[in-house]
Assembly symmetry: C3
Homo-oligomer: 345 residues x 3
């Protein structure tokens, strides 16, 4: 259990109050007890300090007058909170050994202090960097290279010849480097296009549970440094995801689309193939991205939920929209109020 | 092969006809043979009795005049049919033993008649209730507790310190308790927020294949008793799913959203984070839930499919909707037909 | 490394140029080197031949005047390219043996040259055809039958009594034959309907990573010959997918819907249950299919992305659409421009 002073040292922050005060857990302001460290991430939440029982609070130095108790002072209190979660982290630790029930090819090359858990399978010509952790039942295919300090969680499947950088986390049951969905239409049906390229993942990338990142046909699929990808996300073959781009759950990116840096793609959004998305583009939830986006900014699509009967009327009218527009134009003509804008569709 | 009389006893129902009549299978009315038991779940399907060859039929006592053959009588015939499926169930049975190719930590505590199949891995400090069944290749992380009669199917991954109640089924390749998608934005990129809380699943919960339920950052993710969740569903960190709520395939619930009891969320619907959804809310397929829903009832969003050309016109007009509304207002003004409703957007 | 002449022989194509010329890789025109084979799939791409450095090109005989170098001539150049990918394929090969760390029931029946990799589990009464390959950590349940030359990739789970045809590929972490989502609503909550039927998959079917195909309650779920299914797709219980139909990533098909042959369902589209979709229907991305489609053709739904503020206006107006239509009708009445079409909703 760290003390306030120890936390300040570890987080490289100024503090106020009793350096020896022990802090047992991290907790939100409304549930924190006097044994807990809490935080205020935004100015608008300062009023919540009135009722909190927290033993100490991370907050911005400019907000210090709103709080009389123990404090850790940070110009970026939410980032300080994120760093503090590492100190309180309770995840199981790596064994730094190869379990006797793991199956590791003699042709694999392991760095120092590598962990390979029970039931994991590591194929020939695999290269694992120092302190790599392959979780229980995970699979690492022939010739795949994984950088230092990367964790492959239980049940994840990394196919052959994939490159994964350092300090990445690949969550359970995700699949990296399976075949992209490539087929040529012939008179006899679909002819499979073998996917000859691979997947290249940079450093500090996080990939969620049950997500799929397909290998390319002729060009590699690439996820750049610092990108973060949530659960159940589909990244098609030949896609490029820019650095520090965040992709939320159930998003689908079709083949060969290139997404810039620092984009934020909200849940269930979908992108057609062969698009280019600029840097710093934000797409709203369920966004339907059917053409390239060249300007940074926030974009959205879809319609809001309505009570069922009201929605049925809206949806029905949607199919009549072109006719409605033409009727408006006709009325304007009759009233001598013609608009110059384009009415043909 | 049970007889009509045995079925009546097992299902605690009245019956009509030859108690000794053997019934071999459950089948829909249109394909049932004289060896089969069938059912009528709704009054509107009574006309189908005319052509069926079924050997016996489950139906409501009030409908008995529509059928002259063997019958099982139930006030809730669809529920009686559901119960009958258990009698005809053909799923493989648990071995009630630990397979020699399973890896079970010495520190795990196993109840009576526990089954652990080949390749499964059960970590230290796990507690498994009586008759729990861990399927082949499944993973149960450190300190996780699983209640009596719960089944974890092959390939499912249950991370550390998760609580799962009694009589639950977790289907293959699902992931329970992996990290929620929490990151703080810093000048150097995303800083991971370690997910310190866990997932709590009640009793009688069913979770489909390849679904993901993330552990909370500071607050637990909770799925209450009797909730049923389909395949490929995403439940974000800190979400609460109320009791007996049904969530269909590919639904996504973003972090910290609370869903009430007895809700029905249809396929591919998505919910933003930090919302509150009342009890007894029904959301239609692909519903786009971006704000809280305070009243029970049915809600929907989206637009119907149209032939491509017609849709292109509708979709194009959608982007002109505000302008169209203003033009209508202008026409009304010119015609002396002003509306009082709010036209500014 | 094959020569031009060898490629022509293998692909059964005419060629032009030096038969002995070695070709090292397949590559797109813009990145191909003189050691590489490339291709032109469509007439509109012929201009790209001007700048390519490719050593040889697959193209249509009618286009031969556009290219002076080595060539392979095909009436269907994209299909010829697809076939060529097999020659250059670099996927790891099957060992044609059962790994000592695989768990194979004595009651399973294996064909010739079957491969079963480490950690895979094959249950009793399974029948595997010749050259079937069960990947590492995959699971094949009791009584399941898998036809010759089919590959089950690592981590895939095939439940009990499933039938899979010949030459299929089931990609990693997919789940075939888990329970369909069937429950009856009772006063005491949901009563599970045991799923008594199974999944039948034809020949030459490909199923992507982390996809789920549920077993039927009373009727089998069927995927016909030559259908191709991408990643993270949900196929509900009792669904029928017609031959050569292509289903892109994250599509969801609800229970008992029947899809015809040669359909193309784009990413994230969703279909309600109990529908009938004709042959040769194309559904656009995120298509919302809530009723049957009886005519072949292209269909779409949804709205295009817009910059956030513009979208907020469109979305708000969408909820007023019925009122707007009525106001137009009123204006028309006032102006003596009544339309005959139906305005009640």
């Amino acid at each position: 259990m760290p003390s306030l002073g120890e936390l300040a040292t570890l987080l490289e922050l100024e503090f106020r109050g009793d350096a020896a005060r022990p802090l047992q857990r991290l907790a939100a302001l409304d549930v924190a007890t006097p044994d807990d460290l809490s935080f205020v991430s935004e100015k608008k939440h300062l009023s919540r300090l009135t009722d909190t029982r927290a033993g100490a609070v991370i907050l911005h130095p400019e907000w210090i007058d709103h709080w009389s108790g123990c404090a850790l002072l940070s110009d970026t209190p939410y980032v300080a909170f994120a760093r503090a979660t590492r100190i309180f982290d309770n995840h199981p630790q790596a064994s730094r050994s190869v379990h006797e029930a793991a199956v590791v090819s003699e042709g694999a090359r392991l760095g120092k202090q590598v962990t390979i858990d029970a039931g994991a399978c590591v194929e020939a010509d695999v290269v694992l960097g120092d302190r790599v952790w392959i979780g229980a039942g995970a699979y690492v295919g022939h010739g795949t290279q994984i950088g230092a300090d990367t964790v492959i969680k239980p049940g994840a499947v990394i196919c052959h010849a994939v490159h994964i950088g350092e300090r990445c986390t690949i969550h359970p049951n995700s699949t990296i480097g399976a075949d992209g969905f490539g087929f040529a239409s012939s008179a006899d049906g679909w002819v499979k296009i073998e996917q000859l390229a691979t997947v290249i993942i940079g450093n500090d990338v996080e990939i969620g549970s049950n997500s799929t990142i397909d290998r390319g046909a002729l060009e590699d699929t690439v996820v750049e440094d610092g990108a973060i990808i949530d659960n159940l996300v589909q990244i098609g073959h030949g896609v490029r995801v820019g650095s520090q781009t965040a992709i939320a759950s159930q998003v689908g990116i079709s083949g060969s689309t290139e997404i810039g840096a620092r984009c934020v793609i909200a849940g269930q959004a979908g992108m057609a193939g062969h698009l280019t998305i600029a840097d710093d583009v934000h797409i709203g939830g369920q966004g339907r991205v059917a053409s390239s986006v060249t300007e940074p900014g926030h974009y959205s699509s879809g319609t809001p939920i309505q009570p069922l009967r009201a929605w049925l009327r809206s949806a029905s009218r949607f199919t009549q929209l072109d006719q409605m527009a033409r009727r408006i134009a006709q009325l304007e003509k009759a009233a001598g109020l013609e608009q110059k804008e384009d009415n043909n569709a």
